[in-house]
Amino acid sequence: MKISTLNFLKTNLIIIALFCFGLVNAQEEDPEKSKEKNEQELNMDAVFSRPTLSFDKVPVTVGGYLEANTMHRTEEGITDGLSFQARRLTIFMAASISERIKFLTEIEFEDGGKEVAIEFAALDVAFHPLFNFRGGIVMNPIGAFNENHDGPKWEFVERPDVAVNMLAATLSNAGFGMYGKTYSGNWIFGYEAYLTNGFSSRIISNEEDKTYLPAHKDGDNLFEDNFSGKAMFSGKLAIKNRKIGEIGISYMGGTYNKFEDDGEEVEDQAKVDVFAIDWNTTIKATGTYIVGEAAWIWAETPDTYTQQYGNKQRGVFMDIVQPVYKNKIFEWEDATFNVAARFDYVDWNVGRFKETNTKIGDQILAVTPGISFRPTPKTVFRINYRYEWKTDILNNPAERAATWYMGFSSYF
């Protein structure tokens, strides 16, 4: 996912050039229009549904978001003190190349620019609402979070454990595929299907010492080489009822190891399958917003492995956001105070030890209550308190940690 400094400079130059040519023109959206649009959108539309992006009038738009926070973590009574973090700066650039052909890229700068990642860079060609082509570096449509990960959309500083530490969000790969949508009364139905590069053996040989999909992202030449030589399929079906809510089911998987080298079979072919369900809804009566995803991973590990690297993983997260005050505050017409809570759970190794028939640990459980203030929907200030219990593989008594966060995230 890392790109070289040279590329980084190039990207910067392009951005600066765009500014100089005055092509940049972020559009404010009419709130009424956007509400109506919202109702017709699925989670998968998140890529293009970003408040500062507009494809209407100008050929190129630039937008992005910034996230910063303070953090204070105490682990088993020991703390490293307070730290200030500017977690990420993400820049989007979009262009309507001609009618029905658009380009969008999302570039993330993490750790003060030391890590630059292209999260998305794809060309979209619309043939028919049910039939759109997308190719380039695409985000694999798995779960709720991966395609819809912009900081300002969430009430929590941390990203969900299951999405980031089990499913490898934000996961994008070079490849192409199709997506589309259709409507009928209150119902919306959407699909996505892509073939991309797949995972690598790092998922079963890494410093986490466990089956760990995110380890794939430390690999080299991710957007050029396909480690296994076999395409990975990822796809999603989503259905939404405007009155009830949305539910999505998604899958990605394929061979992850280099089982052939120079035509010689060097390892048994090994596969990984990922399955996820996500949901979101707003309870009309109370305005409560609920979003979450549950995911399962099955990974084939070599016969020569012990249970250190699990074959089965599962996890879930769910956010509940309750607006408690929505009104004009100072000059902000539509300011909102929310109280929110998140539940996180991941089990990286589901099963029992063969040696002792006792449960394998390697789990995390966390609850995060929080409050947030949104002067406008595009900007969120949030205070979170996260309490977590983490057990090692042997299932020893959990290590407890509590973290306070205070931060903001805003589109620009």
Binding site: E76, T306, Y325, T356, T358
Partner: protein, 398 residues
């Protein structure tokens, strides 16, 4: 009005945020944990301790960093979680030697069975008919104190011919040692052999020997000290630097001795007395002392490990037919009992005791004792239930 109260409410949260210890998990008491340094390290020593701590507890080897190709674990901590006793999930097998002397299976992968392999390699399998034993990792705390006990003190405790007639002999393990280790203060040698004291058969000379061997045999990491690859047998460039190994050795030397709990409890005190009365203390020696050590915090100190570091005949039930160095297959080194009450916290919530974890309770471990400990075990058997419970409670308090 309402808005004001919300704003006020959030403002009230601010001070809470800056007193972040609020709602934070409390630090466990020092006596509940095994890890942590001995008291009175100098600041320079404390820094080295932390470097070793990181290498021991955080450095996980992967294919890229030299793991394997065949191995039994990927890091020290994978088997020595929390510096405590190991879980049977990460036990390993040694094989190939039935009598004092030399392992006959060195060419077939002995003595250690590397039962795991990186993708594309075959791990070792046990040659049919080879003598073998399973071993779970011992607690590694307080090793600096055990390391600094003078050789002469061990000889003084030993009684190979049972001259005192108590049925308990106990002998030091005279064994060869690699060239790269250096003498401990006042070391004693006999016919080119030295007194070795680490490992369950007591075959390792010191903590450098143990550590360099662990990197090589357990993780497949070659070093200046142990340059031979366990898979090919070829001499390989070092996959870890000497400094890191020496930091880990320093870490092991300066890990604190486990702190006993509930020592004022009347049952514990009664149990302690009984422990002496029924001869347990003849092998599980309550008090030893160190000689000179360059680390002042462990130099000339008295400590309470409940071991004599000697080899004992433990009878047929604990004889797996496999041995190391010049020990017999029925001989085992008395394991220290300190920290045993905290073993559950590193063994997934339950006990796995004795060399291979076969005993699921302290009592079961006692009942496996035989050989020189037969008499002591029978004395334990003869105790009333209340007295037995007191002995067990005492052991758990260590």
């Amino acid at each position: 009005m309402r808005m004001k109260s919300y704003l006020l409410g959030s403002l009230l949260l601010l001070p809470l945020f800056f007193s972040c210890e609020v709602l934070a998990p409390q630090e466990p008491e020092e006596y509940e944990l095994l890890d942590g340094p001995v008291e009175d390290l100098t600041m320079a020593e404390a820094k080295r301790f932390i470097k070793g701590d990181v290498a021991f507890n955080d450095q996980i080897f992967t294919v890229e960093t030299g793991l394997g190709p065949i191995f039994t674990g990927t890091s020290c901590v994978s088997c020595h979680a929390g510096d405590g006793k190991g879980h049977p999930f990460v036990k390993f097998t040694r094989f190939g030697q039935s009598f004092p002397g030399v392992n006959e299976y060195l060419k077939q992968g002995g003595p250690q069975l590397q039962n795991r392999a990186i993708p594309g390699y075959e791990p070792e399998t046990l040659p049919p008919g080879a003598a073998h034993t399973d071993l779970i990792a011992p607690i590694v705390t307080g090793l600096g104190f055990l390391d600094a006990v003078r050789d002469q003190d061990l000889i003084d405790m030993s009684d190979p011919d049972d001259l005192d007639g108590d049925g308990i002999s106990g002998r030091v393990h005279w064994n060869t040692r690699p060239d790269y280790v250096s003498d401990r203060p006042e070391t004693i040698s006999k016919d080119g052999k030295y007194i070795t004291r680490f490992g369950k058969k007591g075959k390792m000379y010191d903590l450098l020997h143990q550590t360099a061997d662990a990197y090589n045999q357990d993780i497949g990491i070659t070093s200046y000290f142990e340059p031979y690859d366990t898979y090919s047998g070829d001499k390989m460039p070092s996959e870890i630097d000497r400094q890191t190994i020496s930091d880990v050795v320093f870490y092991l030397k300066t890990l604190k001795a486990p702190i006993p709990r509930d020592q004022d409890d009347p049952d514990v005190m009664a149990g302690k007395a009984l422990f002496g009365d029924i001869q347990c203390a003849a092998c599980h020696k309550p008090t030893l002392s160190t000689g000179y050590s360059p680390i002042e915090a462990i130099s000339y100190k008295e400590f309470h490990p409940y071991t004599d570091l000697l080899l004992h005949d433990m009878g047929p039930e604990l004889d797996d037919g496999y041995t190391e160095g010049y020990a017999h297959s029925y001989e085992w080194k008395t394991p220290p009992l300190w920290g045993i009450g905290l073993a559950k916290d590193s063994q997934g919530g339950q006990y796995f005791l004795l060399h291979d974890g076969r005993a699921n309770s302290i009592e079961e471990a006692i009942l496996y004792h035989g050989g020189e400990a037969e008499n002591s075990k029978n004395l334990y058997r003869g105790l009333s239930q209340i007295e037995k419970d007191q002995v067990l409670k005492f052991i758990e308090s260590l």
